[in-house]
Amino acid sequence: MSTAPRLTALDALHRSLGATMTDFAGWDMPLRYGSERDEHNAVRTRAGLFDLSHMGEITVTGPQAVDLLDYALVGNISTVGNGRARYTMICQEDGGILDDLIVYRLGETEYMVVANASNAQVVLDALTERSRGFDAEVRDDRDAYALIAVQGPESPGILKSLTDADLDGLKYYAGLPGTVAGVPALIARTGYTGEDGFELFLKPEHAEGVWRALTEAGAGVGLIPCGLSCRDTLRLEAGMPLYGHELTTALTPFDAGLGRVVKFEKTTNEGRFVGREALEKAAERAETAPPRKLVGLVAEGRRVPRAGMSVVANGEVIGEITSGAPSPTLGKPIAMAYVDAAFAAPGTEGVGVDIRGTHEPYEVVALPFYKRQK
């Protein structure tokens, strides 16, 4: 197998913009173009442009497409309306999370599943395997799409000047086909930044033209290109989980505090879906004897917690950091962590993080750290 990194359709453009590139799940992706703090703040206050072409698109079509998705995923996909999107997960038989996904319903019997880059093959394999016996086709469409996101309060105005689509009528977590800068695109009001914004699925050969058109349309309102580094601090402030950090195969959705995505009352397949029995037990355990809980931590000092560091109280380890970074919006280091349920209440006294041997004091808070004003 080749170990050469995969390049997106925008690779040459990123390099011409002076991006610092990084390996991400086998892809060479922009980490940042200039200061990641400036990029973060641009998305919070103006607009930012992201290349997310590494995400994995899988098309599921056919008369039983929805039956397959209801069986393969933990959500109730039957209730997703045409043109809407749903955040969901795919779990193992034992309830462990294989990936978190967004499923877009593109037509009566056509769905697009968007997987994390690092899990795209795992999800494709699982869906293919689980499709046996269903009259549905699972198609790998990773090479069929480039994905560009424009995120931030100025993004509706920027996109409006380039599209024929009715953006005012496009709700959060919905998507519709249209044109952007004269080329066809699936326009979705989704994102991973905690801000209003859009994700544009287009043919790779159109990516550069659309990127340039968005750059031009946004120049007057402060749009700048943004890399994966600020995307991580944006999602962390918004309290959004990241696969491999807050979500792993060792955890069920209930352990991750996301039990609400699991729907036991499905109408298709007589309620059967992969992981059901294990997840019923996990749901009960979360109710009666909760294991660790996912919480937010805010530093009192300036040292930054990192994934894998121990959370401590009274000299004992009570949990582990899953993600940590300096928060540009709060001006303090923040983290998500799984901690013993006894220490999970906001305001719990005496909690700290072991940062290279020093126990730095942290405040336990409810997630998210940041919520945009609507």
Binding site: T20, L31, R32, S35, E36, R37, S229, T233, R302, R303, V304, R306, A325, P326, P333, R356
Partner: protein, 125 residues
């Protein structure tokens, strides 16, 4: 980026000013600052502390990682830049000027410090 000619450089990406009365100013290079990303926390050696060439004497924390700060020479710390402790972004915005880190009264220095041209070639490789 250009590395100032009057400075000398370590392979750990510190710079060292010309020595005056036995004291040199030390910082990290623009190359290092760019590689780190936005610096958000700086821990410097304390005045009076002795640092040893090639050994860790502090920390530079950026958005994504924490890096050791190495002493390019051996000697006693005679000043630490409080401005950069208060505003770590000076390391990124002015690495060769306002973002200096500490001053050392030199007792010994390694022989492999680089000239500006040598350092430029070293980081280009």
């Amino acid at each position: 980026m250009s590395n100032p000619q009057q400075l000398r450089y370590s392979k750990e990406h510190e710079w060292l000013s010309a020595v005056e009365d036995g004291v040199a100013t030390i910082g990290i290079t623009e190359h290092a600052a760019n590689a780190l990303g936005d610096v958000v926390f700086v821990q410097l050696p304390e005045v009076g502390e002795t640092v040893t060439a090639g050994e860790s004497c502090g920390e530079l924390e950026s958005t994504k990682s924490v890096s050791d700060l190495y002493a390019p020479v051996t000697g006693e710390v005679v000043a630490a830049n409080q401005d950069v402790v208060d505003d770590p972004s000076l390391v990124n915005s002015a690495p060769f000027e306002g973002g200096w880190l500490f001053k050392v009264r030199i007792e010994a220095e390694p022989e492999d410090l680089l000239s500006a041209d040598e350092y430029t070639a070293f980081t280009a490789g």
